[in-house]
């Protein structure tokens, strides 16, 4: 029971920490560390919530979560998985309910991840097929394919063997040569570091819990951090001013209007402006000590949860 209480406390604190973390200003000083923090918070929330349910449900075995799961499997086998018999013997009805809830949540999260992955692969394959038919190359624009559309857009299509950077004709119109190079460097950074894989668990979480505003907000926070990571990579090769100007020109071209209500996200400051000001007025990066402190806290959190899972408390 102690571990159930502690794990619930951790699950709640993860939510509180996530809410405060989103408001914090330091993540933009160390986007890579911040992305790791988001991943750890997500993992910790999942494992502590499921762990708390299991610790409560399997408490009668007195063997902790991991030991309890093994005991449950043995028990279920000897009772032919007959739930009411299990409920009649060692576990009460609430406990069986908690275990079932834990399994359902695990299944939901897992299937969300798989479904999202499959969907992403399907979208990408279709996109790649169409791109091959309608996009063209331009010797003036090395490292990118061109799409004849008046709206300004630049993006990357990730893939193991066939990743591509695509720029629209509208984008070529608004950007000068050096700005374009900065944009392409930014997109290549996404592809090189496989940022799409970082974002995938968060988008699958969004799929598993649609209409949960909090998850949508967190997803966008991670997406913004990933853009900052790519900005940081691009400014190693190109000047930050070029990149900032490119961002501004994209935004101001105004051809990519969203129908009202399609993206009803109200941030205090437009995300693009956050990126622009970060490029134009560089903030101090996190010091090595601060980074170490944050990362050790993350490791400690995950370690605690693992201990609580395995110890019979």
């Amino acid at each position: 029971m102690v571990s159930a209480a502690l794990l619930s406390a951790i699950a709640v604190s993860c939510c509180v920490a996530a809410a405060r973390f989103r408001q914090a200003s330091w993540p933009r000083r160390g986007p890579y560390v911040a992305v790791i923090v988001w991943q750890v918070l997500g993992l910790a929330w999942g494992f502590s919530t499921i762990g708390a349910l299991l610790a409560f449900g399997l408490a009668p075995y007195g063997r902790g979560v991991v030991g309890g799961l093994i005991a449950l499997v043995d028990d279920a086998r000897s009772h032919d998985l007959y739930l009411s018999t299990i409920a009649g013997t060692t576990l009460g009805a609430t406990q069986v309910g908690a275990v079932i809830l834990a399994f359902s949540l695990t299944l939901l999260l897992f299937s969300g991840l798989v479904a999202s992955f499959v969907q992403v692969l399907r979208v990408r394959r279709r996109h790649h097929d169409l791109l091959g038919l309608v996009a063209h190359d331009d010797p003036e624009v090395p490292g990118a394919r061109i799409l004849d559309h008046p709206a300004a857009a630049a993006y990357c299509l990730p893939g193991v063997l066939r990743s591509e950077v695509v720029v629209s004709a509208g984008a070529l119109e608004v950007l000068d040569r050096s700005e374009l190079a900065a944009v392409i460097a930014h997109e290549h950074a996404h592809l090189r570091q496989r940022h799409d894989l970082v974002l995938l668990p968060f988008s699958s979480l969004k799929r598993a819990f649609p209409h949960v505003r909090m998850i949508e907000v967190y997803y966008r926070a991670v997406a913004l951090l990933i853009e900052m990571c790519a900005d940081d990579q691009a400014r190693r090769e190109r000047s930050p001013k070029e990149l900032a100007m490119a961002l501004l020109r994209f935004g101001a071209s105004g051809t990519s209007q969203v129908p009202a209500g399609a993206l009803a996200v109200t941030t205090d400051e437009p995300e693009v402006l956050t990126r622009v000001s970060r490029l134009l007025y560089p903030v101090q990066q996190l010091s090595r000590r601060q980074t170490t402190a944050v990362l050790s806290a993350a490791v400690a959190l995950l370690g605690t949860i693992m201990v609580l899972w395995s110890m019979p408390l």
């Binding site: 996109h127 091959g132 038919l133 857009a153 969004k206 101001a252």
Partner: protein, 120 residues
């Protein structure tokens, strides 16, 4: 670009140019300068049909092929994907800038004017 992809493009271009359903022979004739074997054209059209970008109808003994959508339609579809205007496609592509609402675009336009001034 690989040769097969190149051929698929060429075949689609033929289908888009002619405003009528074409047989394998018609397509081969339109690409006469490439000197393609009949079976090659058939394979390419078959692949395109499997990808869902061409539709085919039987007419007598021969299939007639036509594009499933116009080139402009496909370009728009790609752009809609890219600008993230469909909710659940977020992680598939990473756009340089997501599409933004009117207020955001306005704020950017102002910021751009501020930045442009010192340059001129």
């Amino acid at each position: 670009m690989n040769r097969l992809g190149d051929l698929e493009r060429a075949v689609m271009d033929v289908l888009w140019q002619r405003n009528e359903p074409l047989t394998v022979r018609d397509v081969g004739r339109a690409l006469a300068d490439r000197d393609l074997a009949h079976t090659t054209v058939m394979t390419v059209l078959d692949r395109l049909a499997k990808k869902g970008v061409v539709a085919r109808d039987r007419e007598g003994r021969a299939w007639r092929y036509r594009p499933a959508a116009s080139r402009e339609n496909y370009v728009s579809e790609l752009m809609i994907d890219a600008l993230g205007e469909t909710g659940d496609r977020d992680a598939a592509l990473a756009a340089f800038v997501r599409s933004m609402n009117g207020n955001e675009a306005e704020a950017l336009r102002r910021a751009l004017e501020d930045t442009d001034e010192p340059r001129t």
